[in-house]
Symmetry: C2
Subunit: 431 residues, 2 copies
């Protein structure tokens, strides 16, 4: 990892730009898979599981007996951990509930904003060697708190053709009892269009590889809503000499182990601190199981020494990190100046992994600079805000001139007449 | 307009499906325009204004003197109407502000959700024969209430090459003083990438034709956030015999005058009511300026008689209308059963035009069935919810087993070690 000293602002842009995934090469293949699932439904899911995943699916929807058996295979200690995490996530998302807005903008003009849960949501949980059990909680718990009527979970089959037990348990903590074995672009298509077995949904959540991401993007144009654009995970750490180098190094490696696409950037206040962290990273890397993935990521990572605290804030806002760790004096004051970040971690005892798994905040966060424009997944992601208005005759009368004036300025005469007809007082006009 | 009687549920789907715009034919052309603006910046805007709009732009950014002159040409009465509308919109969006969520999920584990305004937003206001002045207010007012730092407004030049005066005035009511003359896909590209003159933004709002919509979709994949998928406007009216046929007809025509792509669907409770409304539509259509556009739309519209109130509600939720007017007994009870709609209008004195212009609710609403998954534009559309967590040493200690347990179940050892290193109590580990 290079150490850089006070880079001039003119050079900051090169640190902000993320490597963009080359999606075009896979678009045609993803489109074919999506079309096939749309036309052939379940048959396509069975066929693609075999050709793509090398698995002969015993079923698409996991039967109750299989789920029950899977639950019995989850170690008690892991069950307890998942319950603790689920409780915190639930409490934080429940705290996000708010009442209807219900007020009069003028006498006789009542306006309401009412949150209503999205009816049917789909959650995609990637498979692979170590499935992301935490993702089930991060998406399933807020769906339940929001009151979504139907929650569909798709996950690729494990090697034996069955479902990963931990995923079944985590799903049960969210009240999800419909689990479907499907992966990749075909799972996204199944949830978007529905098949004989998989219900169609109104919004799809969840991380995934390039194929999953591309399928979500394609289908979000006209078929189904999605949570947010996806990209490789990243962390930025802002540290002064109140930070502990061993902790900082551990946080950078925590991010790096995700893989070569991940990125960790440290902004720190002194050369000596930069050197200490770098030493710690080298030392801690030695006996890390995912050392190779981490090394690949560290080559793309940076340690930047900045003298000026205000510069650090501006740099952090320009980068717009998915995760931002602040280990500095007056950290809440620094956080107050942050306008672009997915989730912020304050102090020496708030490792990113706390938020990834159990503090209660949501770990589905905007990457690739999208933190400039997007929120992480939260309770509102599972809701729609419907507005309602009711005008009394007097309320409409007081607004009549305003409405008709603007309508006519826009050349929309019938819009004006819809007010005039009511103002004319005729309730049984010529029939 | 056909009158249909109690269609069986098996046939409802044909009423729910919207005509989908054929976007693919224009994608290549839009991509070329976008690329040209990205590479040539202002030069492309001047060139495209000439070749596409037939206008020789005098400037891209409207100078203060030109804006001041334009303001003087807006009739006083229209200014007053726009101020009244702006005040109501402002009040309703101010009422949507809420405080940070700030709580402990467990002792020593503090979690915060903080709304922060998006820094730079772009508003596109289509031009044409009658520019949508109201759109300036609907997007500009919430941007100001949210506290967005920079608001950029793009609108095509009027025929004389200058800007529409009413747009300048509406913009001034929103505190927007940067207006750029650009239209179509090139305006969207300019705001997404920035040019020498047009600042880049983090999110683009605003309606537009197929080219604008396609450019927004394309650029939302990796460049800029957008408000929502767009489509032709629509209204559904739920009416029993408490509704007034002349009013209902006026509301249907108000929607129909938008053009042949628009749709109006009436659900009513009796044949005689259906006939009365149809008669009123024919009568009111006679002297409507935009009669041809309205007739085209009415051919795609329906009057559906339904005996059962519950069936009406289910149908309305299945259709997921952009605008839903409820003129029935116990209308708020009906509204309480609605789960999919953009904005609801209650009672005989709440024409859709009230919401389009002045009640205070936002008129930028989900069409084409997207009301199943999307909210209309609201204050949160201009904000990001950043989460913050701070754990005390004891708070982390109580969660340590949970975090490391799940991290190891996911095969992410460094995530677990980021906790372990803090629990080991070593603050100055071997350097």
């Amino acid at each position: 990892m290079e150490i850089v000293f006070n880079p001039p602002r003119a050079e900051w842009e090169r640190y902000f730009s993320r490597r963009s995934a080359d999606d075009d090469t896979i678009s045609a293949g993803v489109a074919r898979i999506v079309e096939r699932v749309r036309e052939e439904g379940d048959d396509a899911l069975y066929a693609l599981a075999e050709s793509v995943d090398g698995v002969k699916l015993p079923f698409i929807e996991v039967p109750p007996a299989v789920r029950a058996e899977a639950l019995s295979r989850v170690p008690e200690q892991l069950k307890a951990s998942l319950r603790t995490a689920a409780d915190n996530i639930r409490r934080f998302h429940e705290a996000q509930r708010h009442a209807d807005v219900d007020m009069e903008t003028m006498p006789g003009v009542r306006c309401v904003q009412r949150p209503v849960p999205i009816g049917r949501v789909g959650i995609y949980v990637p498979g692979g060697t170590a499935p992301l059990v935490s993702t089930v909680l991060m998406l399933g718990i807020p769906a339940r708190v929001a009151g979504c009527g139907e929650v569909v979970l798709c996950t690729p089959p494990a090697r034996n053709g069955y479902v990963v037990p931990e995923i079944v348990y985590a799903a049960s903590l969210c009240g999800i009892d419909r689990i479907f074995l499907a992966g990749g672009a075909q799972a996204v298509a199944a949830m978007a269009y529905g098949t004989m077995t998989v219900p169609p949904v109104d919004k799809i959540f969840g991380p995934g590889n390039r194929y999953v991401t591309r399928a979500k993007q394609m289908l979000s144009v006209s078929q189904v809503a999605i949570d947010m654009p996806a990209g490789p995970s990243e962390v930025m750490i802002m540290a002064d000499d109140t930070a502990v180098p061993a902790y900082t190094a551990a946080d950078m490696l925590s991010q790096a182990e995700h893989g070569t696409d991940s990125q960790a950037i440290l902004l720190c206040s002194s050369r000596s601190q930069a050197e200490q962290v770098r030493q710690q990273v080298i030392r801690q890397l030695e006996d890390l199981p995912r050392r190779e993935q981490a090394q690949g990521s560290l080559q793309r990572s940076h340690i930047i020494v900045m003298d000026d605290r205000r510069e650090m804030v501006d740099f952090a806002n320009g980068y717009a990190a998915e995760h931002l760790i602040i280990c500095m004096e007056d950290p809440w004051e620094v956080a107050g100046a942050i306008t672009c970040a997915g989730s912020i971690f304050i102090g020496n005892f708030s490792p990113e992994s706390a938020g990834d798994y159990a503090s209660g905040t949501n770990h589905t966060l905007p990457t690739a600079g999208w933190a400039r424009s997007y929120s992480g997944v939260n309770l509102d992601s599972f809701m729609k805000k419907i507005t309602i208005q009711e005008l009394t005759p007097d309320g409409l009368a007081s607004l009549a001139g305003t409405i008709t004036g603007i309508a006519r300025a826009e050349g929309l005469e019938a819009h004006a007449r819809a007010v005039d007809v009511r103002m004319s007082g005729a309730t049984d006009r010529d029939k």
